[in-house]
C-alpha cells in the first residue's frame, strides 16, 4: 500500500480551489452521455450529487434502501445550515467559518478540505433558496440567521426546526427533475451489499432488491458512496433505525481505507432514554441552546420540581465553566459536561441521567409567541414524546449518539483509496476532524454533492471516455454476487435462538459503555474482548426467519448488524491507538487538571487510516500527517 497522498493542490489556502477548478480535466457534453455513475444513498449528499451530475449530462443511477429517496435521514436534521454570507454584518468570512471548523474539530481535520467546504457554503444557500427552501426571513423579506455552538457569529440559516427536511426535500426536488428528464434512474428499496472492482477500479455494485430478495448487478465508470454515518453502531442514537454502515464497510473490505473510525459525536441535547423498549432517541436541536439555559440543582438529589428551585440553588454549569461561549459550547464539550454533572450525582429525572434545558428566562424576555416562532415544532415534538410542556417547565435532556466524523478516507478529490470510488457527505471523514460543529453537516453534504464532486469527478471521468460501458457478465460480478449470496445464506442458516435486534442492543451497550463519551485503555480492551465474544455468539446463535427470496426485514437487519461487529472492532482499535484526547475522543488518561481534553500533537497530529488485511488479521495503520500551514495549532479553549 502506497503512502497516502491527499493530492492537495499547490498555492495558498484561499487559492487552492480556484486553481484546482481552472486546471481540472473536463469531459465534453457528448462524452458525458456515454459515462455511467452510480450514487449510493439519497440524503443531502447523494441527492445533490446525483442531480448535479445528471444536469451535467452523465448517466446516473441512484440507489436507496427506503421506499422513496425523500426519506433519507438528512430529513431529520433540525437546526440549520451554515454559510459565510455575513448578512448579519457581524464580521463573518470564509476564513472565520474555516477557522471555527478547524478549531471545533480540535485540529484533526485537513485544512484544504475544510477551507473549500467553507468557500462553497454561500453557493449552497443561494441554490437552496432558488430551489424554494422557505428559510426564515425578516419582515423586510431578507434571509435571517441564528447562532450555533462553538461560534461567535450568526451564520446559521434555518427553516424553523426543520431545516434538514427542507434542504432534503429541495435536493430531492432537483433529483426528481433529473429523473423526469431521464438523466437519472432511481432504484429505491435496494440495498448495496458489495462493491465490484474490475482491474482494481470501482466498476459496479451488487444490490439486493428488498421487495423480491433478488440480487442485482449494476455497473458504472465510477461509484459514489453517499451512504451516511454509522452512529447506529450504538443501537440507540438520533439516527433513523435503518441507518447503517454497511455500504462503507463493504467498500472498506474491498480496499478503501477507513479513517478515524473512533471519532463519533455524542450530541448533548436529546430526549433521555425512558425505558428499555426504546428503539431510538430523539434529538432536541442545538439551536435551542440559543435561548435555553442548561442547569442542574446545586444540591445532590434535589427532588423539588424544577420550577420550585430558586435561582440561587441552580448551577448553570456551562455558563460557569465556559463564560465566553456559555450554553453555546461545541457538542463534545457540552456532552462531557452533562455526563460529568450526572456522574457526580447532580443529574435529574427518574434515572438521574438528565439535565435541565430551561426557557423560562427567554420566554419572560421575548414572549411565548417569539419562542414558538423559533422552536414551535421542537417544543411540540418534546411534548408529544414526554408529555411535558416546555413552555411551562424545563426540558430534560441527555447526550446521545448522533454523528460520525470518521468515515472512508478520501483525498482532495473526495476519492477513496480505490480508484473510481468516491465518498461524500457523512460517509467520508474529511471535514470535521474530531468533532463536528452544529449546522455544518447539511452544509458539507450539500457542498460535496452540488459544488465539489461534480468538478472533482470530472478529473477521473476524463480518463474513462475510451472505456466502453462496463458489462455486468464479467467474472468480477459473478464472484461478488456469489459472495453476497453465500453470506446471506450463512446468516439465514444459523438457525439459533436470538434475533438481530437482541445482538444489536447488546453491541450498542458495550460501545456506549466503553467507547462512548469517555474512554480508557482498560475499558477499551475489555470492550474488544466483549465484542469478540458477542460476535461469536451472533454467528452461532442468530435466528433469521423466512426466506431470502422475499421481503424479509430480518435478513436486512442481520446483514447490517453483522457488519457492525467488524466495524466495532476497528472503532475500538482506533480508540486504543489514539492515546490522546481530542474533540469527541476523550481518553481519561489524557486530560488537563480541570478535566478538559488534552491533545498530544507531537505524536497524534495525523489522520489514522486503517487498511483491511483479511479476516482474522489485524488492520494496518497508515498515517496521513496533518500539516497546518495557515492556522496555528492551539489549545482549544471556550472559556
Amino acid at each position: 500500500m502506497a503512502i497516502l497522498d491527499a493530492k492537495i493542490p499547490e498555492g495558498s489556502l484561499a487559492e487552492k480551489w480556484t486553481h484546482y477548478k481552472n486546471s481540472v480535466k473536463l469531459v465534453n457534453p457528448a462524452n458525458k452521455k456515454k459515462l455511467d455513475i452510480i450514487v449510493v444513498g439519497t440524503g443531502a449528499a447523494g441527492s445533490s450529487a446525483a442531480s448535479a451530475l445528471g444536469e451535467l449530462g452523465y448517466n446516473v443511477k441512484v440507489f436507496c434502501y427506503q421506499d422513496s429517496p425523500r426519506r433519507a435521514h438528512a430529513i431529520a436534521s433540525q437546526g440549520g445550515i451554515n454559510a459565510t454570507k455575513n448578512y448579519q454584518n457581524d464580521g463573518d468570512s470564509v476564513y472565520r467559518l474555516f477557522y471555527d471548523m478547524i478549531k471545533g474539530g480540535d485540529f484533526r481535520a485537513r485544512e484544504a478540505n475544510v477551507y473549500r467546504a467553507a468557500e462553497v457554503s454561500s453557493q449552497v444557500i443561494d441554490h437552496y433558496t432558488a430551489l424554494g427552501v422557505p428559510f426564515a426571513r425578516d419582515y423586510g423579506g431578507s434571509l435571517t440567521n441564528r447562532s450555533f455552538g462553538g461560534v461567535q457569529v450568526s451564520r446559521t440559516f434555518y427553516a424553523k426546526g426543520q431545516t434538514g427536511q427542507q434542504c432534503m426535500l429541495a435536493s430531492y426536488s432537483s433529483l426528481n427533475r433529473q429523473i423526469s428528464k431521464g438523466t437519472v434512474t432511481m432504484f429505491s428499496r435496494r440495498e448495496m451489499l458489495d462493491l465490484v472492482l474490475v482491474d482494481g477500479k470501482a466498476r459496479g455494485i451488487i444490490t439486493r432488491n428488498l421487495i423480491t430478495g433478488e440480487l442485482e448487478r449494476h455497473s458504472a465508470h465510477a461509484v459514489v458512496l453517499a451512504s451516511g454515518g454509522y452512529g447506529t453502531i450504538y443501537y440507540l442514537s438520533t439516527l433513523a433505525i435503518q441507518s447503517n454502515g454497511s455500504a462503507a464497510w463493504k467498500a472498506h473490505l474491498k480496499g478503501a481505507l477507513f479513517a478515524n473510525p473512533s471519532f463519533a459525536q455524542i450530541h448533548p441535547t436529546s430526549i433521555p432514554q425512558l425505558n428499555e423498549y426504546q428503539s431510538k432517541l430523539t434529538l432536541m436541536s442545538e439551536s435551542l441552546r440559543n435561548d435555553g439555559r442548561i442547569w442542574v440543582p446545586k444540591e445532590k438529589n434535589d427532588k423539588r420540581h424544577p420550577n420550585d428551585i430558586p435561582e440561587e440553588d441552580r448551577d448553570y454549569y456551562l455558563e460557569r465553566r465556559y463564560p465566553a461561549y456559555g450554553n453555546l459550547v461545541p457538542r463534545d464539550v457540552g456532552s462531557r459536561a452533562a455526563k460529568e454533572r450526572c456522574d457526580a450525582g447532580y443529574g435529574v429525572g427518574p434515572t438521574g441521567l438528565a439535565v435541565y434545558m430551561d426557557f423560562r428566562d427567554a420566554i419572560k424576555k421575548q414572549g411565548d409567541k417569539t419562542i414558538e416562532a423559533k422552536y414551535g415544532n421542537l417544543f411540540q415534538l418534546y411534548d408529544t414524546i414526554t408529555g411535558i410542556n416546555p413552555y411551562k417547565e424545563p426540558m430534560q435532556i441527555y447526550p446521545s449518539a448522533h454523528y460520525t466524523m470518521g468515515g472512508l478516507w478520501v483525498d482532495y478529490n473526495l476519492m477513496t483509496t480505490i480508484p473510481g470510488l468516491y465518498a461524500i457527505g457523512e460517509a467520508n471523514f474529511a471535514d470535521h476532524g474530531a468533532n463536528r460543529l452544529g449546522a455544518a453537516s447539511l452544509m458539507q453534504c450539500s457542498g460535496d454533492g452540488y459544488f465539489i464532486l461534480p468538478f472533482t469527478i470530472s478529473d477521473y471521468m476524463a480518463d474513462q471516455i475510451k472505456t466502453p460501458r462496463i458489462p455486468v457478465n464479467l467474472k468480477e460480478f459473478d464472484e461478488a454476487e456469489e459472495n453476497v449470496r453465500k453470506r446471506l445464506e450463512k446468516l439465514i442458516s444459523i438457525n439459533g435462538t436470538q434475533t438481530s435486534t437482541f445482538f444489536h442492543k447488546k453491541l450498542g451497550k458495550i460501545m456506549w459503555d466503553y467507547c462512548g463519551m469517555v474512554r480508557n485503555e482498560e475499558g477499551l480492551k475489555k470492550a474488544a474482548e466483549l465484542v469478540k465474544e458477542l460476535k461469536h455468539e451472533f454467528w452461532t446463535d442468530l435466528k433469521v426467519p423466512g426466506n431470502l427470496n422475499e421481503l424479509n426485514q430480518e435478513i436486512e437487519k442481520a446483514g447490517r448488524v453483522s457488519d457492525f461487529f467488524d466495524l466495532a472492532g476497528l472503532l475500538i482499535s482506533d480508540a486504543l491507538n489514539r492515546k490522546e484526547s481530542c474533540g469527541a475522543h476523550f481518553r481519561e488518561e489524557s486530560q488537563t487538571p480541570d478535566g478538559e481534553a488534552q491533545r498530544n500533537d507531537d505524536e497524534y497530529l495525523y489522520v489514522a487510516a486503517w487498511e483491511f488485511k483479511g479476516e482474522e488479521r489485524p488492520h494496518q495503520l497508515h498515517k496521513e500527517k496533518l500539516k497546518f500551514e495557515e492556522v496555528e495549532v492551539q489549545v482549544r479553549s471556550y472559556k
Binding site: D67, A130, L131, Q166, S174, I211
Partner: protein, 246 residues
C-alpha cells in the same frame, strides 16, 4: 397491560390477505405503538412465526416512512402525529386494536402493512420542482420574499409524503398532497415562472395514476400528521383554473 391485536397479514402483493389475531400481554404504556409491534415481532420470531412487516425509519415523525391504519383511522386516535409518534398511552388495558395498511388503489400492498407509495414520487416527477441548474442561482438575498408568504410556503412545505391523506379519503384523492407542493412553490417568487405548467402537469399525473377526486369532505386535513390545511386545496383549484383559462 394487555391488548388484542387484529393485524392485516398478506404474504405478498398477489396473495389474499386476512386479519390475524394476536393477544399480546407484555405491553407497557411507555412503549410507542411501533415499539409495541417491535416487541411482538421479537416474540413471533422466537416462536418461529413470521414477523409482521411494516415500514418505519426515522421514528420521530419526519421521514414519512411509517403509516398504519389503526382502529379505522390513519395513525390512530391522536391528532397531528405520524404512527411512530403514537404512544401506547393512547390505549387501555384490554383494548382490541385493528391494524391495517393504507387502503387505496394507487397504493397496492407489498406485504402485510407495507404499501407501494411510488405514485407520490411520480406525481412530483411531473414538475414538483423549480427548474434551476446547480451554479446558476442568484444571491439568496436578491430574491426578497415577504415574510407572510414565506411563512405560508413553509406551512405547505412540511408535508412528509406519508400518504395518510389518501388513506383517509373515501375517494383516495391525493389533492392535499398535490396542493401542498403546488402551494409551497406557487407562494414563492422563485416558483412563479413554472407555476402554470406545474399545476397542470401534477394534476394530470395525479389523475393518470388513479387517485380519486376531491369532494371536500376534509378527512385528509383531519388526519394529516403535519396538519396541512384545506386552504391548500382551494389554492390548488385557483392555480389550476387560472392556468387553464389564461
Amino acid at each position: 397491560m394487555k391488548v388484542r391485536l387484529k393485524i392485516w397479514r398478506q404474504e405478498n402483493a398477489k396473495a389474499k390477505g386476512a386479519f390475524v389475531t394476536y393477544d399480546f400481554e407484555e405491553v407497557s404504556t411507555e412503549m410507542s405503538f411501533l415499539e409495541m409491534l417491535d416487541a411482538l415481532n421479537q416474540k413471533l420470531i422466537k416462536k418461529g412465526d413470521s414477523p409482521i412487516a411494516f415500514d418505519s425509519d426515522c421514528r420521530e415523525g419526519i421521514c414519512g416512512s411509517c403509516g398504519l391504519y389503526i382502529n379505522g383511522r390513519p395513525n390512530g386516535p391522536e391528532k397531528g402525529i405520524s404512527t411512530c409518534q403514537l404512544s401506547m398511552r393512547a390505549f387501555k388495558d384490554g383494548d382490541t386494536i385493528y391494524v391495517e395498511p393504507w387502503r387505496a388503489k394507487p397504493f397496492p400492498v407489498i406485504k402485510d402493512l407495507i404499501v407501494d407509495r411510488s405514485a407520490f414520487d411520480k406525481i412530483l416527477h411531473a414538475c414538483g420542482f423549480i427548474s434551476v441548474n446547480t451554479g446558476s442561482a442568484p444571491d439568496g438575498n436578491s430574491i426578497l420574499v415577504p415574510k407572510e408568504y414565506s411563512d405560508l410556503a413553509f406551512d405547505s412545505s412540511v408535508c412528509i409524503g406519508c400518504g395518510a391523506c389518501v388513506a383517509a379519503c373515501k375517494n383516495a384523492s391525493a389533492m392535499l398532497f398535490v396542493s401542498a407542493k403546488v402551494s409551497h412553490l406557487a407562494l414563492l417568487p422563485q416558483g412563479r415562472p413554472e407555476a402554470r405548467e406545474r399545476v397542470k402537469n401534477m394534476v394530470m399525473e395525479m389523475d393518470r395514476l388513479g387517485f380519486g377526486n376531491c369532494t371536500n369532505t376534509g378527512a385528509c386535513e383531519a388526519e394529516c400528521p403535519k396538519e396541512i390545511n384545506l386552504t391548500n386545496i382551494a389554492r390548488l383549484n385557483r392555480e389550476y383554473f387560472t392556468a387553464k383559462i389564461l
